[in-house]
């Protein structure tokens, strides 16, 4: 049965990422950490983009906000992991507030509104230099410890965030929220008519899609120990995450994980092999995936099983 395969897939994925330290190579661990980081972002995006069908480009806004919030807390002396939690909280509150504004918009307009959030927060971060250091960026208190310890610590930290996001995804999918979001994705007017409190549900989805991004962003800031507005609120990131989910299979539990790891690993290989044209090749691969894997990687798995 499908859910059976799904469980195995997720289990293998988690095991694979968690086993990275076995390689004994910090670079491999670093890539695994990025896989987990993007996995968390993709799962987050999936709430609003996959289930509710709202094409959100707010990911970078949440990541950036989380990283600044986390960094500022940490620099103010809050213990590291606690400041990640605070960052997640701040992001959730911001997502709720902003959600009430941008979720009034539908379809296209929502997409633009959400991308505007990224720009606005980025501008604020660079403008409010008294707090954020402006364009000079913000240095984050460095976690003491050897490189091996640091590498592992952040890998498992990111993985923990992924697991939390996974749990949330499964709960949502099984419950009313998930069902309501799928109705919204299909026909919002009709959803409203059958009693789905659409505004509330959309805001909830937006908050869910913010909270894990916030935590992951804060962890990321502690990891690299330096953040600056343009990198923290990266437009590239905000577009990349939906692409990942699309590649994996939107509106599913495993799809986002699959898509994000596929893209990260793909980037890694293409980049290492084709220096000058890596970007073009990556672009070509994405184009090809759209044509040859319309349902995402998960769709492929489904087709294989059917023909078998």
């Amino acid at each position: 049965m499908a859910s059976h395969w799904r469980r195995i897939g997720i289990g293998l994925w988690l095991l694979g990422v968690a086993a990275a330290p076995l390689s004994g190579d910090n670079y491999v661990i670093k890539i695994a950490t990025f896989v987990a980081f993007y996995g968390a972002l993709a799962l987050s995006w999936n709430f609003i983009g996959g289930y509710a069908g709202y094409p959100s480009f707010a990911t970078a806004a949440f990541v950036g906000l989380g990283s600044y919030a986390g960094a500022l807390c940490q620099n103010a002396g809050v213990p590291m992991v606690l400041s990640w939690g605070l960052a997640a909280g701040v992001t959730a509150i911001a997502a709720a507030a902003l959600g009430f504004v941008v979720l009034r918009l539908r379809g296209h307009y929502f997409a633009i509104g959400s991308i505007a959030l990224v720009e606005i927060l980025s501008l604020i971060a660079s403008w409010w230099s008294g707090l954020t250091g402006g364009g000079e960026g913000l240095n984050v208190t460095i976690l003491p410890g050897g490189p091996v310890f640091i590498a592992r610590f952040f890998l498992y930290a990111m993985l923990a965030i992924v697991v939390l996001a996974l749990v949330a995804t499964v709960l949502v999918e099984r419950g009313r929220l998930g069902f309501g979001l799928r109705c919204i994705a299909q026909n919002e007017d009709a959803a409203e008519m059958v009693g789905v409190p659409t505004t509330l549900y959309k805001v909830l989805a937006f908050v869910l899609s913010g909270v894990f991004c916030g935590a992951a962003g804060a962890a990321y800031a502690s990891w690299v120990a330096y953040i600056a507005p343009t990198d923290a609120f990266s437009i590239l990131l905000t577009v990349k995450v939906p692409v990942m989910v699309l590649l994996g299979g939107p509106g599913t539990v495993f799809g986002p994980l699959l898509g994000s790891s596929a893209l990260v690993l793909l980037e890694e290989t293409v980049w290492a092999r084709f220096l000058e044209f890596h970007q073009a090749i990556l672009g070509a691969v994405i184009v090809a995936l759209i044509f040859f894997l319309p349902g995402g990687l998960l769709g492929l798995a489904g087709r294989v099983r059917k023909s078998a």
Partner: protein, 373 residues
């Protein structure tokens, strides 16, 4: 045994041009070193290997590549990418592993005041540039009383603007306009119109080359002018004069190095002239600028440190770098307590007749300051 040097470079993305300049300079140095059969460490000839990766002007990838160079390629020493922000990221990773990093294009104090022990930089602090500028202008054009400042909200340009404001204040020049513009700016007509209304004698702007080109053009469009127009680091780059044509004329700037400043040295190049000749011989366009020179100088520093330390041990390399005192084709190198190169008198340049000429220091002066028409 080989000396492995790891170099994360921006070969694509926003800083691709600058990254490529670093690459050219590294390559020039490497050719010389290989021609000499390597470098001498502890009495033995040691080969040099330079491992470069493109980090796509992307912060995440910069940190990732630093890690890759250290853990997989097992480099002995790193060079930093272009610019202060990305230098910070690479230095953060290297510090954890205790690998020395030599930065060639980071001049902002905020990079070096982190307490990093393994970070060194060949550029002198920004303050040196602005002090030199003020000196030239006040001396050669004493009528200059009012300055307008516009800087990009970004590590280096911002700190330049701040340091200029500071220098101007100290010299008794009145600041009549002082603003920062965000990185995404596509138009300067509003700040320029305002500048026109306050009638400054000196317009100072720091930003990326494309911003400076646009701003200079809009100044002409809107009839905004002043006897002195300074753009950091515009005229230091060939592209600036090329894209602006006649509008570049008489724009001043300060830079860390100019091919006109001739040094004799005991490095692989031997003299500034030899470096410039090498550069031309490669078929590169125009003349090398400070990015080329500083990048080559960074590797010279690494080479000398290895020779002095007599070992490739990272900590010994670091200690040797810290103690280094060198005369290179680029100028003297002497890393101070925080890792930055010691302050010295820096060249002030002006575009005259389509090319950059030196106005100061006096010893190498090629021309005198002209007013912008």
């Amino acid at each position: 045994q080989t000396l492995k040097i790891g170099a994360p470079l921006a070969l694509t993305g926003g800083l691709a041009d600058e990254g490529k300049k670093q690459q050219v300079a590294y390559d020039m140095w490497l050719k010389r070193v290989n021609a000499a059969g390597g470098i001498t460490v502890g009495g033995k000839k040691v080969k040099v290997e330079l491992i470069t990766y493109d980090y796509q002007t992307n912060e995440q990838r910069a940190s990732q590549i630093a890690e890759k160079l250290i853990t997989q390629d097992k480099v002995d020493v790193l060079t930093a990418p272009f610019g202060s922000g990305h230098t910070k990221v690479v230095a953060g990773v290297a510090e954890r592993y205790g690998v020395p990093v030599v930065a060639s294009v980071a001049s902002s104090e905020s990079v070096f005041n982190q307490g990093y022990k393994f970070l060194f930089g060949t550029l002198a602090p920004n303050g040196g540039l602005t002090d030199a500028l003020v000196k030239v202008v006040t001396k050669q054009m004493p009528t200059v009383k009012k300055i307008a400042l516009l800087g990009r909200e970004d590590v280096f340009p911002k700190s330049m603007a701040a340091s200029m404001a500071d220098a101007a204040k100290r010299a008794g020049i009145e600041i009549v306009y002082n603003e920062l513009y965000p990185v995404s700016t596509m138009d300067f007509s509003s700040p320029l119109s305002k500048m026109r209304s306050v009638k400054p004698d000196w317009i100072f702007m720091s930003g990326y080359t494309k911003d400076l080109i646009l701003a200079r053009k809009q100044m002409a469009d809107l009839g905004v002018t002043a006897p002195v127009i300074t753009m950091i680091t515009g005229p230091a780059y060939r592209e600036f004069a090329e894209a602006l044509g006649p509008l570049a004329e008489n724009v001043t700037s300060a830079t860390w190095w100019s091919p006109a400043v001739s040094f004799k040295s005991d490095d692989v190049f031997g003299s500034t002239q030899a470096f410039v000749d090498d550069f031309r011989a490669r078929g590169e366009k125009g003349e090398p600028d400070y990015v080329h020179a500083s990048a080559a100088a960074a590797l010279i520093a690494v080479q000398k440190a290895a020779e002095i330390a007599g070992s490739l041990d990272k900590t010994k390399l670091r200690d040797a770098l810290a103690a280094l005192e060198l005369k290179t084709f680029y100028g003297p190198i002497d890393f101070t307590g925080n890792g930055m190169n010691a302050a010295r008198e820096l060249p002030i340049i002006q575009v005259q007749g389509g090319r950059a000429v030196v106005l100061a220091p006096e010893a190498i002066r090629q021309s005198t300051l002209r007013a912008v028409k």
